[in-house]
């Protein structure tokens, strides 16, 4: 059977066809049985619902990430193929670019978000996390998603970027829109785009040089247009990348970590006993929950992957969350282990597009988990957690918890 309706040779006969819709509410509620079904079906599967190839095993996800000339990003890292469809917004100059264009913009963001820059931010990020945790301990019971997972990044990241105080409430809705838009034309994507105009207007405006405070990431990006690494027209779009990818991702990442610690008291006890595990405990939460679940690539030629020939011009969907729990790669993949040697997970991607903001994410995660480990005695769930639905991001809408002091 050939779901694309093209010539019978277009799809190799051996490929398993699956009816899984990875962008459905049922999938979001519990993706793990479907992840396993895809991994066990073969190294490459075909998802008939959206006519895309899928890879869910670690080895193939890694291989696709690390062959950017064959599996390109410039035709979009969502379902929409920019060669056939007009993108919903001007494409990203980094995420949705291939070498050599990508190499140039990536070099700029790498410098803006380098390990040396993180050293300067560290004390301030740590102090803000301590203040936040003190405030929450005083309250006792609260909702860990808005009051911690959202509130903490909102207290440090927009300032680090140099954004004006006004209008910051557009940031999370804008990011949620961006990540929904990578998905197929389902209700989540359509509704997000219908409601996008005010958020897009805010973001476009804030990316301008005049609106970015000196010393912040945004001003640093613009400064690279003075030295010629990028053009003045490119700078605002690179600032936009940080507005799109830099806030909501860490909200989901911190939310994932707190949810893990609330669910697995033995791991919470280990972290409390040794707060120096905080950074690794955050990293392991990124592996375990994979806040960014999926990204697409588009084939630039006919290519063989895992014994299957994928024709040119096809969309390939990578399941980061499934790769991060592939038993072929990980021992006890379904266990959250704060001391796991987690290097090599693909929660931040891999290869040339691997998250350029990962050091910011880790700094935030380490700051929050260190403050929790030092100050909080117990974390208990005081109500049922509620899931938040997004085509790309996995996380919660609500996580009622109670903290007691150490």
């Amino acid at each position: 059977m050939n779901p694309t309706g093209l010539s019978g040779a277009a799809v190799a006969p051996a490929i398993p066809h699956l009816a899984i819709d990875p962008f459905s509410y049922a999938f979001f509620d519990d993706p793990y049985p479907a992840h396993q079904e895809m991994r066990e079906a073969g190294p490459v599967v075909y998802l008939d619902q959206w006519n895309v190839y899928g890879v869910a095993r670690y080895a193939e996800v890694y291989a696709v990430f690390n062959d950017p000339l064959t599996f390109c990003s410039s035709r979009g890292v969502g379902l929409s193929d920019f060669a056939k469809e007009k993108p919903w917004r001007p494409p990203s100059l980094i995420l949705e670019a291939d070498p050599p264009a990508h190499t140039r913009t990536r070099a700029v963001l790498s410098k803006v978000l380098s390990p040396a820059v993180m050293k300067r931010l560290r004390d301030g990020f740590m102090a803000s996390a301590e203040a936040k945790v003190d405030e929450l301990l005083a309250r006792g019971s609260f909702d860990a998603i808005p009051d911690l997972a959202e509130a903490y990044p909102l207290s440090v990241f927009p300032d680090a970027l140099g954004l004006k105080p006004e209008g910051r409430d557009h940031l999370i809705p804008y990011a949620s829109l961006v990540f929904n838009a990578f998905g197929p034309p389902n209700e989540l994507r359509q509704q997000a785009i219908e409601r996008s105009a005010p958020h897009q207007a805010y973001v476009t405006e804030q990316c301008q040089r005049d609106n970015l405070a000196p010393g912040g990431f945004g001003a640093c990006i613009h400064a690279f247009s003075d030295s010629g690494e990028i053009t003045p027209a490119e700078a605002p779009l690179l600032v936009r990348s940080l507005l799109s990818a830099g806030l909501d991702t860490t909200v989901y990442g911190i939310g994932a970590a707190v949810y893990c610690l609330a669910r697995f008291p033995d791991q919470w006890a280990r972290l409390r006993a040794d707060p120096s595990l905080a950074r690794n405990a955050f990293e392991e939460a990124v592996r375990f929950e994979s806040p960014v679940q999926t990204f697409f690539r588009t084939t630039t030629r006919d290519v063989e992957l895992g014994g299957i020939v994928i024709p040119e011009g096809e969309k390939v969907l990578m399941f980061l969350g499934a790769a991060n729990r592939d038993p072929r790669r990980w021992e006890q993949p379904d266990a959250y282990d704060v001391a796991r040697k987690v290097s090599g997970h693909v929660g931040f991607g891999s290869g040339i597009h691997m998250c350029v903001g990962q050091l910011v994410a880790r700094l935030e995660g380490e700051a929050v988990l260190t403050a929790l480990a030092r100050k909080v005695g117990s974390i208990t769930m005081s109500g049922a957690p509620k899931r938040r639905y997004n085509n790309t991001l996995r996380g919660l809408e609500s996580l009622p918890v109670t903290f007691t002091p150490a």
Partner: protein, 107 residues
């Protein structure tokens, strides 16, 4: 296979037979050598795979690229003239007997 020795901050050492073509970082990780965290998995983003190369060897390695140089400015432990990122050093027969020291912290 090329023999590499890692010396820990407490002076204990581990000698491993590393696969040629792997990075030093991967050799450490696959042989259970602790202290090289490698948060970015070798993608030259994190600077948590920092090592000090024994002086006798420093000149025999491929030179530090501009990217590696910039990352080394952000290492958690002090940057020294013989500092390298172990994910950027490729194991090869000419490095047989290489000795590297692991710093006391990576982040």
């Amino acid at each position: 296979m090329t023999t590499i020795t890692f010396i820990h901050p407490d002076k204990s050492s581990q000698t491993v037979d590393a696969a040629d073509g792997d990075s030093l970082m991967l050799a450490a990780l696959t042989h259970g050598v602790d202290g090289i965290v490698a948060e970015c998995g070798g993608n030259a983003v994190c600077a948590t795979c920092h090592v000090y190369v024994d002086d006798a060897w420093a000149a025999k390695l491929d030179p530090v690229s501009d990217d590696e140089d910039a990352l080394l400015d952000g290492t958690a432990a002090e940057r020294l003239p013989n500092s390298r990122l172990s994910c950027q050093v490729k194991v090869q027969p000419s490095l047989a007997g290489l000795v590297v020291r692991i710093p006391d912290k990576q982040s």
